[in-house]
């Protein structure tokens, strides 16, 4: 069948660039390959200049972007490899398999660094919960994550789930994985040398998922059923074998490079190894073990069959590698060779069918500079703060409304479907702002947090995305962890709309500002554009994942009240704002495109005090004031401990709604025993500190304003 550049998703200027590089017309097979490799999903052609804004070195960074995952030093000679990746489009079409293969794909990215995957997290942005279609998609997605993650034996230790109508036809599934690797045995994809073999280990290659990357690079069709052949099918059992097999081969020093086969399969993995190593590579398509007959060379080259890894090794190690693969009951075939001519070649039974410069396939798609324009509607908005006149007798009703909002309510119905304890390292399970694992290899604790807040990014993309990043960091700090690095997934609609591109740019700038100002380098990430279906597009949804270590802290700080009769403090700057808050949406408060305060110096002061509080053991519990504001955060501390609280402080009645329900800014709630109050206050000197009241009893009471039994809070929150 004849195809032209439009059929494979290329633009005219891209086709001209191809002609220019090659000095000839590409043949059909080459065109199909370039169509996939030059897609947005594989090439980052719309965002490369933006991504270069991210600081990505220094501090604990051992490996920045450019490999399958970034790595930070976690002490004792060990590193943590981590990355988040989207599987949005596949999950919209086939929620179970889409989500499952998302988990599988990110695990292989971590494995490709030579790391043992030890923790997964999932960011889910789901459609309006009251719609049957959204619930069914959400159920499939959760079951897919569970089905794959549980069998593969990597605990799902945390994540973030929220709901909004903008995700009705286009849910977001962002899978993050973290693995541990000895710093002296990190695997790179830059180390192939001419003469090395390219060895495919894992499943047989079939017709599944062909051109999935191109599919991920355009808006969703109205009838997504037609796209189902572009979704891959996952086999977690084979993935588990693949993990053990590759780690065994690696531990015996038998490989020189490794690359996972995700989007664009053999093509991307082999061309990237060649491009990064400065070599060429020949793939003999007839040597690839196939699941079905009569596959064309380009189909073999682009198949996205799951659970496959490309290993590069010396010829002499092939017998030993084959033996280990056979032990794990996996296919293993030498399918090609690293060459010295810089060309990516596919040969089919001796006939060369594709010959392209490896660098052209693996990385030199021309950048597209889309027009960026601030949407006119944003400029005209008022700069006055969002206000709401709160009737005291309505406070309980508002609290119950917010607690039963699906984005704020109990998520245990989801995370109890995930095996979050396998590998016996889960110290703080899902359900807390920061999940904490113990790394068996070096005995250290690691904190992990994930955040996404489309509503704040919609209000103001720069400060909104900065707030998203800071929220994730504050969760680490309050638990006692010092951040090491960040990964992100940039979920947006089409960059071709100037307004969208302006929002994307401002969000990236906001994330970059925090990375720079708080010294939290960006070590890895992923971009997912074109999240639209029909007339609907998603809100700007950059998602952030962070990790950090605990220094001189044996036990992280709990988020739940631990004892009665302890003093409750509110510590930190900012009283928050209703703009962009859950309260504002629930009460239909008028909001405007006003910037949130971005005060990095104050964040640093907050960080030092929060970590010192844990290190010196001055608090018995602590929780950041996050979604839903102060009242919701306090209510969650009650419900997760079964202990009430009584607030007898005079509250600022003039701005009560903002005080009780406002969000943003560095603030945390702490409980402190009486004998440590002085020491606690001195750690927080120079920072606004309010003594709110006392823990105890079975009700949440605010003098004159609220009196609600803890079990009623529980009923609302658990829905």
């Amino acid at each position: 069948m004849s195809v032209n550049y439009l059929d494979v998703g290329l633009k005219e200027q891209e086709y001209l660039a191809i002609m220019d590089i090659l000095g000839r017309e590409p043949n059909m097979q080459e065109l199909r390959i370039l169509g996939v490799m030059w897609s947005e999903h594989c090439s980052y052609k719309s965002t490369r200049p933006l991504l270069s804004m991210f600081p990505n070195s220094g501090g604990a960074v051992v490996q920045g972007p450019g490999e399958n995952a970034g790595i930070v030093d976690i002490g004792g000679g060990w590193g943590a490899a981590f990355k988040v990746e989207s599987h949005n489009h596949p999950s919209a079409v086939s929620p179970y398999q889409g989500a499952a293969t998302g988990v599988g794909g990110i695990i292989r990215d971590i494995l490709a660094m030579g790391a043992r995957p030890v923790a997964s997290l999932d960011g889910l942005c789901l459609g309006d919960e009251s719609l049957q279609q959204s619930r069914s998609l959400a159920d499939g997605i959760v079951k897919g994550i569970a089905g794959y993650g549980n069998a593969v034996g990597v605990p799902t230790v945390g994540g973030k789930t929220l709901y909004d109508g903008c995700y009705n036809g286009n849910p977001l599934v962002n899978a993050m994985c973290l693995g541990v690797v000895r710093l002296d045995s990190i695997v790179s994809s830059k180390t192939a040398r001419p003469g090395h073999l390219a060895i495919l280990v894992g499943s047989r290659t079939g017709r599944d998922g062909i051109a999935g990357a191109a599919f991920a690079s355009s808006g969703l069709a109205d009838d997504t059923r037609a796209s189902r052949p572009q979704v891959q099918i996952g086999d977690p059992f084979v993935e588990k074998l693949l993990i053990e097999c590759c780690l065994e081969i690696h531990s015996k020093g038998l490989m020189v490079a490794m690359q996972d086969m995700g989007a664009a399969g053999i093509t991307s993995s082999s061309s990237e190894i060649a491009a990064k190593s400065g070599t060429g590579i020949v793939i003999n398509s007839e040597l690839v073990p196939l699941r079905e007959n009569d596959m064309e060379p380009w189909e073999i080259a682009l198949s996205e069959s799951q659970e496959r890894m490309l290993l590069v090794a010396e010829q002499e190690n092939l017998p030993e590698i084959s033996k280990i693969a056979a032990k794990w009951e996996l296919e293993c075939a030498a399918i090609g060779k690293v060459t010295d001519d810089g060309q990516f070649v596919i040969s089919d039974k001796g006939k060369i069918v594709v010959s392209l410069p490896a660098g052209m396939v693996g990385g030199s798609c021309p950048v597209i500079s889309w027009t960026s324009r601030e949407p006119s509607g944003r400029k005209a908005t008022s700069q006055k703060g969002t206000t709401f006149s709160l009737s005291p007798h309505m406070i309980e009703k508002h609290l119950v409304t917010l607690l039963s909002n699906p984005s704020l309510s109990d998520k245990s119905g989801i995370f109890h479907q995930y095996d979050y304890m396998v590998q016996t390292g889960t110290v703080v399970p899902p359900g807390s702002a920061a999940s904490i694992i113990r790394v068996r290899e070096n005995g250290k604790l690691l904190g992990l947090a994930m955040e996404v807040d489309p509503w704040k990014c919609e209000i103001d993309p720069f400060t909104g995305s900065a707030e998203v990043f800071l929220k994730a960091l504050r969760s680490l700090w309050v638990a006692g962890a010092e951040h090491l690095g960040m990964t992100n997934c940039l979920n947006f609609p089409s960059p071709e709309d100037p307004g969208n591109f302006w929002v994307i740019s401002r969000c990236v700038e906001g994330l970059a500002a925090v990375a720079r100002d708080l010294v939290c380098p960006v070590v890895s990430g992923n971009v997912s554009l074109y999240n639209e279906s029909g007339d609907a597009k998603i809100l700007p949804s950059p998602l952030v994942g962070v990790t950090g270590t605990f220094r001189d802290i044996a036990k992280p700080l709990s988020e739940s009240f631990s004892c009665e009769n302890e003093t409750v403090f509110l510590a930190g700057f900012s009283k928050g704002t209703l703009n962009g808050s859950h309260f504002a949406r629930a009460m239909a408060v008028e909001q405007n495109h006003r910037e949130f305060p971005y005060l990095p110096e104050k964040e640093k002061i907050f960080m030092h005090s929060a970590i010192e509080t844990v290190r010196k053991g001055l608090a018995t519990s602590g929780r950041t004031v996050a979604g839903g504001g102060l009242l919701v955060s306090l209510a969650k501390m009650c419900v997760t401990s079964g202990i009430g609280i009584s607030i007898d402080e005079e509250l600022p009645l003039d701005d009560l709604a903002v005080f009780l329900f406002g969000e943003t800014g560095p603030r945390a709630i702490y409980t402190v025993t009486e004998n440590l109050e002085k020491d606690f206050a001195s750690i927080w000197s120079g920072i606004p500190l309010i003594k709110l009241g006392q823990t105890g009893g079975k009700t949440f009471t605010i003098k004159g304003l609220l009196e609600i039994p803890v079990n009623e809070i529980a009923r609302a929150w658990r829905r």
Binding site: A151, V238, F415, R440
Partner: protein, 235 residues
């Protein structure tokens, strides 16, 4: 206590058992590949760990029960030496016939991972001598197929022979059926064979063997076996 942990393709709690047992007894644990035909010399305890052997694509444990190592495991059982099957390992033991019963899909038809409570029904087994009868343990479960099932007459026989070792219960030890997380008949969480040396249980003692992880109630199970092997307590 020389311990052998059998590794099937798809086992994923093997390293956790090695870690837990090593913490209690030091490095005396070896992993044994399912294709091996014998256990290491002098093996005391054999553990069949949790996971998804062969992906559990067929009936859970059915493929693993046909592995070459199973003959040696059966021989170990015949000698009266202790065998512990945890979660998928329990499913394997029922498939080999070393234990009666079957593990069906949870009543909720979803995977459940959570801490639960189980009551020790007997402390005169090699696995439970460090516990008191009636003691309540806090211990995690993580399974999709954990509903213990037997036809009524066989269930009555099992009960009358006192072969139920653990039952799901409330934190206070109440074994009313509403405290069974998965719908197991008679709240059964763990059973032993007639000879008293092969125990299968859905809860994970290796996940409850460290303070840091929220419970140490499972560690005494491994200590009990060690006592028994050293001849301290006879079943």
């Amino acid at each position: 206590m020389k311990t052998a942990v059998i590794v099937f393709p798809g086992s994923n709690c093997d390293n956790d058992v090695v870690h837990a047992v090593s913490m209690v007894f030091g490095p005396v644990v070896s992993k044994v590949w399912h294709e091996d035909e014998s256990l290491p010399e002098g093996t005391g305890l054999v553990v069949l760990p949790g996971g998804f052997s062969y992906g559990d694509y067929l009936r859970c444990g059915a493929m693993a029960a046909k592995s070459p190592i199973i003959a040696a495991v059966k021989e170990h059982a015949r000698k009266g030496l202790p065998i512990l099957g945890i979660c998928n390992g329990f499913q394997v033991l029922t498939e080999t016939g070393l234990l009666t019963g079957a593990l069906l899909a949870n009543r909720s038809l979803s995977f459940i991972c959570d801490f639960c409570h189980i009551r020790v029904e007997r402390n005169d087994t090699p696995f439970t001598s460090r516990y008191a009868t009636g003691q309540v343990l806090r211990i995690p479960i993580a399974h999709y197929e954990g509903l213990f099932y037997l036809p009524q007459t066989e269930l009555e026989a099992l009960e009358s022979e006192g072969r139920v070792v653990f039952r799901y219960c409330s934190p206070e030890g109440d074994t009313d059926e509403r405290f069974s997380p998965n719908g197991s008949l008679n709240n059964i969480a763990g059973v032993i064979n007639t000879e008293g040396n092969v125990l299968g249980m859905m809860p994970h003692p290796e996940r409850a063997s460290e303070d840091l992880l929220g419970s140490t109630d499972g560690a005494d199970l491994f200590r009990s076996v060690s006592d028994w092997l050293e001849g301290g307590i006879q079943a």
